[in-house]
């Protein structure tokens, strides 16, 4: 079995195109200024459709996680792995995996500093996060 691969849709294509370039792209509302994730053509904070894409810093902190012992297809050979939610420096949160560090409760400390990196998944570059100083 292989790991699930995202299938981009028109409104998310710029996000995945950014990942292919090694950039984490977010959207920002031009009316109220708030950045948001996941990609969509309307600001969830104020309802404006006047929005733009920008390149995020890729900096984040570890907000919460589980360590999954029942692997999804394609994850069978790597042992228990963390499914994490990180808080980006710009504010929005996203789900991700944590790489470059053992996925144990001792090594995964909430609020630790993380930096985006990218993992190839078929034709897609998938954003994952590593402790600062551990980028692949």
């Amino acid at each position: 079995m292989t790991k699930a691969i995202p299938q981009p849709t028109p409104e998310t294509q710029p996000f995945w195109d950014g990942c292919a370039r090694g950039e984490l792209m977010l959207q920002r509302c031009l009316a109220c200024g708030k950045p948001y994730f996941y990609p969509r053509p309307i600001c969830p904070a104020c309802g404006s459709t006047d929005i733009e894409w920008f390149t995020a810093s890729g900096q984040a902190t570890l907000y919460s996680y589980v360590i999954n012992h029942r692997p999804a297809p394609g994850f069978e050979d790597q042992g228990p792995y963390a499914i994490a939610v990180v808080e980006l420096a710009e504010g929005p949160r996203m789900m991700t995996n944590i790489v470059g560090v053992p996925n144990t409760p001792e090594d995964l400390v909430l609020d630790m500093a993380l930096q985006v990196t990218f993992e190839q998944r078929g034709e897609i570059s998938l954003p994952v996060f590593a402790p600062v100083g551990e980028q692949q």
């Binding site: 691969i5 998310t12 919460s64 589980v66 999954n68 999804a72 897609i124």
Partner: protein, 382 residues
């Protein structure tokens, strides 16, 4: 609101058995539950003029199988709380005159998966693009993610989390239909297999087969039915997020809170009036979030409140008295069983009957903190 605008649950029943039912299809479970509920209300199937259930199989399939053609239908399917919303929607339909006698059914071959729909997995959906690639495997690996943040912020311990399951097992021990009835300790829970750290197997719900059904009607017909009326005093519904990663605050459920506020306001009650409580417990942390969202204790106090014995037999806030999804049964969409236990308690016919259960509150969850419904049920009308 005047008494004659009130609505009651006039009939309620589960399938003959719950648990492992490999000889029942999903549709059979709906039919058996519907037949039992109609009989409980002293009605004939032809008396039903409204039907509500979740797709699949959905209201058209269920009604057709039962040989009826209702003039009102509701296919709201927003996870395990859907049946609480069906009660709310049925109450509105009855008040509007769209239906007089609504049948709400649940049947799910959650364990044996006979005649069950496959779980949808679309790689182009938002969860398909932004969650599934990280190795999610359904509720055990997603619904559970918030709790480490809660533990850090409020000091909830692993032992307190485990005790939620211990407390509910004490109720299950009094319920002959419960799948797990042997008393257990915190040590037993913490020694069980790790499923998704910090959750052990015994902190995760069962996966079973079963069903249940309800009959909802106007309160002014209460004397027409054989069982004591269970008045629907207040209802609420709310939504938050389709993806756990987008939950606003991982230490609280805003959907639980909003649904509760609406239901308590409509019923005109406070937490002090509540004698019996059901909180959807797919995992051990959900009752903690629920007890706090409804305002029974302050934020961060529910773990200690439960560990001190307040919600177990003899405690001042009887919670999940059928044993809950953790010990009684959990077909996948557990909300129907939480309502059934609330009805039994208000009627005074529960296995682990609580004294003076004249007000019961049921909090339902759908998805991973995605949706919520709350019902306030009472022995007397407003």
């Amino acid at each position: 609101m005047s008494q004659d605008r009130g609505v009651i649950i006039a009939g309620a029943a589960e399938t003959d058995a719950v648990g492992k039912l490999p000889n029942h299809s999903t549709l059979q479970l709906h039919i058996e539950a519907a037949v039992n509920a109609v009989a409980d209300a002293g009605l004939a199937m032809r008396d039903i003029d409204g039907v509500a259930t979740v797709n699949a199989p959905g209201p058209v399939q269920v009604a057709h199988a039962l040989g009826i053609t209702p003039r009102w239908m509701d296919g709201t399917g927003v996870g395990g709380t859907s049946f609480l919303l069906h009660v709310r929607h049925a109450a509105a339909a009855i008040r509007a005159g769209y239906a007089t006698t609504v049948l709400i059914t649940h049947g799910e071959s959650g364990r044996s998966r006979v005649g069950a729909s496959p779980f949808p997995r679309g790689g182009s959906s938002m969860p398909g693009q932004f969650e599934a690639p990280y190795g999610t495997t359904g509720p055990t690996s997603t619904f559970t993610i918030p709790v480490l943040r809660y533990m850090k912020e409020y000091g909830l311990t692993h032992e307190q989390l485990a005790y939620v399951a211990v407390a509910q097992r004490k109720w299950a021990a009094q319920n002959p239909r419960a799948m797990f009835r042997d008393l257990m300790t915190v040590e037993d829970v913490l020694a069980s297999r790790m499923v998704a750290y910090p959750f052990h197997l015994l902190e995760c719900c069962l996966v079973t087969d079963g069903g249940g059904a309800l009959i909802v009607a106007a309160a002014d017909r209460a004397a027409d039915f054989p069982k004591p009326a269970v008045h629907v005093l207040g209802t609420g519904e709310a939504m938050e997020t389709p993806m756990i990663s987008q939950m606003v605050d991982f230490t609280e459920s805003e959907a639980f809170r909003q649904a509760g506020l609406a239901a308590f306001a409509e019923a005109g009650i406070t937490t002090a009036d509540v004698r019996h409580l059901m909180i959807y417990d797919a995992f051990a942390h959900v009752p903690i979030y629920g007890v706090e969202a409804l305002g029974f204790v302050a934020k961060g106090e529910a773990g200690a409140f439960i560990a001190e014995g307040n919600t177990e037999p003899g405690g001042r806030l009887p919670l999940n008295t059928n044993g809950g999804g953790l010990s009684y049964t959990h077909t996948g969409m557990y909300g129907m069983f939480a309502i059934q236990e609330g009805v039994r308690q208000v009627r005074g016919e529960a296995s682990a009957q609580v004294p003076d259960a004249d007000i019961s509150v049921i909090l339902g969850n759908g998805g991973m903190f995605a949706t919520s419904g709350v019902l306030v049920l009472g022995r007397a009308g407003r």
